[in-house]
Amino acid sequence: MGSSDEKVVAVIMVGGPTKGTRFRPLSLNVAKPLFPLAGQPMIHHPISACKRIPNLAQIYLVGFYEEREFALYVSSISTELRVPVRYLREDKPHGSAGGLYNFRDLIMEDNPSHIFLLNCDVCCSFPLPEMLEAHKSYGGMGTILVIKVSAESANQFGELVADPVTNELLHYTEKPETFVSDRINCGVYVFTPDIFDAIRGVSSQRKDRANLRRLSSFEALQSATRNPPSDFVRLDQDILTPFAGKKQLYTYETMDFWEQIKTPGMSLKCSALYLAQFRFTSPNLLASGDGTKSATIIGDVYIHPSAKVHPSAKIGPNVSISANARIGAGVRLISCIILDGVEIMENAVVFHAIVGWKSSIGKWSRVQAEGDYNAKLGITILGEAVAVEDEVVVTNSIVLPNKTLNVSVQDEILL
């Protein structure tokens, strides 16, 4: 055990365009995994975490997007991190476990001893090396990253029960109606290659069951709508639930932050979490300044090197400014993401908002929201190329791309 020949492969599920319409309007212009959090594409965070795994041989991104959406990113990140990253497109939905199984030959090419499976839209500290060590000590087929959440919110996720001594997964249930447990599935897993046998077992079981029945045409019509095809295998319902309590699956608990990035509002919250993490892991990425030679910086702020910020501006906390943005004199930015090419004119204020690519914010205008990350209109979102004219106030609103606002709006969605 523990030889340097034990290679690890990581698989990151990235989803696809018609799934997850909750990320609109930002997803109208960019694939969600490429939306920047704390200055880096969403997918960059789990990928850099994977880099910390010893003997990482390969990272696969699996999803439904067109290959060309990821081509540029994948080639640049492979060069930057010096680990091969490849995007694999699923031809049809196979389920969260079926997708992994679909590409098993490629995944097993490097003969890995362990396979990590992560979801791209999870925001956490990704303690992957620690998880791998724990998994090796448990000796099971898989280990799931878990976190404790509030009892009220637990039913949005997969709830699980683990043995407090052995950490074995005893029980797992997806989005239960009644309370089962406040420990939930973080969507980060490590498996040994036996997982493929387990997935194959599920799909052949299903195939056998389908073959055994002699169906009347009426039953055939019913079952076609109720039973998914045999190669559609979901990780939660089809693997975790049945294998719980059989000494095959274990849990590793994280005490750090964890969020799911489903909506634009949450992306602002997660950007803040990652910026705070940079304070410890890579403080050189964060901006600093006191208003003399460069702008006043409060708290955690990321500013892309090509962005121009006037020294009289005050930026932060929780601000991320992307490439080629121009922030004018006397501008105040708090809790916001300013995307590429945005121009913010003198004395404007942006507070709890995401300002889309190439938008322009006029003088003395105010783009703001109450800051409730979970509310539908809790964070103001401006799509690509939105122009907010001088002195206009935009509050708690969502504005789709290519709109010009010449009057103030509040609590509205502007198509």
């Binding site: 018609t18 319409t21 609109r24 309007p25 109208l28 969502i398 789709l400 791309p401 290519n402 709109k403 969605i413 198509l415």
Partner: protein, 361 residues
């Protein structure tokens, strides 16, 4: 003869439909909006149509190839790199619009639907001998638009007043012009407004004439007017070519049904309905004052009124969809759901009722 159609920008007022397809290609009465205009232009002998666009040229160009051959008319694009307003695009397309013939050329606003009396307009322009002729139409609420103040007896235009607060006249600019090539000499290649900068100068020289548009007129650039416009269009179709409209015991009023659409038993369709190609309307369905785009399936017992259902969407059994509900492409309304003015973006499933008008992203 040549013509320029001002297609312009992003069609944001007609979202969510224009999130899937550029506005000129959105079907109106089962035909792409711009095709209504191009066909009418061809009918009066226009041989070349220039589309002034600044958005999604690739999609437009594909469409054009198909229709150039079908119609036997040359269609080209003039692409703005920055928005040039309502007159700038003419300067940009100058070389395409002027030829040695010295004939006047048409300029149309792409959102306008009417009977396109182009032949009468050519005669009017010749008779009055102006440098530019414009169509005006009478409306009930002129302050919503740009009013053209004119001398009724001579047809001469006095001035333009944009959204007047007090009543100055009830004729508005219908967005259809017939211009002599000399008008192009008055337009610089920069963002320019034809109503604010170009026409007032021509009017001052007493060379601008206005013809009152016979028949209906509508700016269908937004959903409410699109639905009203369909009623006006079908009324006009009843008078001119009533064989195109559907007939039968299940049809009430003016209804257009594409030949490839299927309608089930016990339905009541109309008035003012357009059903697109490949649609399936199952039995017991009630449709009134609505447009159903290509490939939509409406399941049994559903009821739709005053709404637009986008391409390839489905409406569930017993669903009720009304009050300016606009469904984008590939929207699936589940059985028994009620939508009161829901505006739904493409690729969504509606599993719970929408009780008051709201946007579903």
């Amino acid at each position: 003869m040549k013509a320029l159609i001002l297609v312009g920008g992003f069609g944001t007022r007609l979202r969510p439909l224009t999130l899937s397809v550029p506005k000129p290609l959105v079907e109106f009465a089962n035909k792409p909006m711009i095709l209504h205009q191009i066909e009418a232009l061809k009918a009066v002998g226009v041989t070349e149509v220039v589309l002034a666009i600044n958005y999604q040229p690739e999609v437009m160009l594909n469409f054009l190839k198909e229709f150039e051959t079908k119609l036997g008319i040359t269609i080209t694009c003039s692409q703005e790199t920055e928005p040039l307003g309502t007159a700038g695009p003419l300067a940009l397309a100058r070389d395409k619009l002027i030829d040695k013939s010295g004939e006047p050329f048409f300029v149309l606003n792409s959102d306008v639907i009417s009977e396109y009396p182009f032949k009468e307009m050519i005669e009017f322009h010749k008779a009055y001998g102006g440098e530019a002729s414009i169509m005006v139409t009478k409306v009930d609420e002129p302050s919503k638009y740009g009013v053209v103040v004119m001398e009724e007896s001579t047809g001469q235009v006095d001035k333009f007043v944009e959204k007047p607060k007090l009543f100055v006249g009830n004729k508005i600019n219908a967005g259809i012009y017939l211009l002599n090539p000399s008008v192009l000499d008055r337009i610089e290649l920069r963002p320019t407004s034809i109503e604010k900068e170009v026409f007032p100068k021509i009017a001052a020289e007493k060379k601008l004439y206005a013809m009152v548009l016979p028949g209906f007129w509508m700016d269908i650039g937004q959903p409410r007017d699109y639905v009203t416009g369909l009623r006006l269009y079908l009324d006009s179709l009843r008078k001119k070519a009533s064989t195109k409209l559907a007939a039968g015991s299940h049809i009430v009023g003016n209804v257009l049904v594409h030949e490839t659409a299927k309608i089930g038993e016990g339905c009541l369709i109309g008035p003012d309905v357009a059903i697109g190609p490949g649609c399936v309307v199952e039995s017991g369905v009630r449709l009134s004052r609505c447009t159903v785009m290509r490939g939509v399936r409406i399941k049994k017992h559903a009821c739709i009124s005053s709404s637009i259902v986008g391409w390839h969407s489905t409406i569930g059994q017993w669903a009720r969809v009304e009050n300016m509900t606009i469904l984008g492409e590939d929207v699936h309304v589940c059985d028994e759901i009620y939508s009161n003015g829901g505006v739904v973006l493409p690729h969504k499933e509606i599993k719970s009722s929408i009780l008051k008008p709201e946007i579903v992203m």
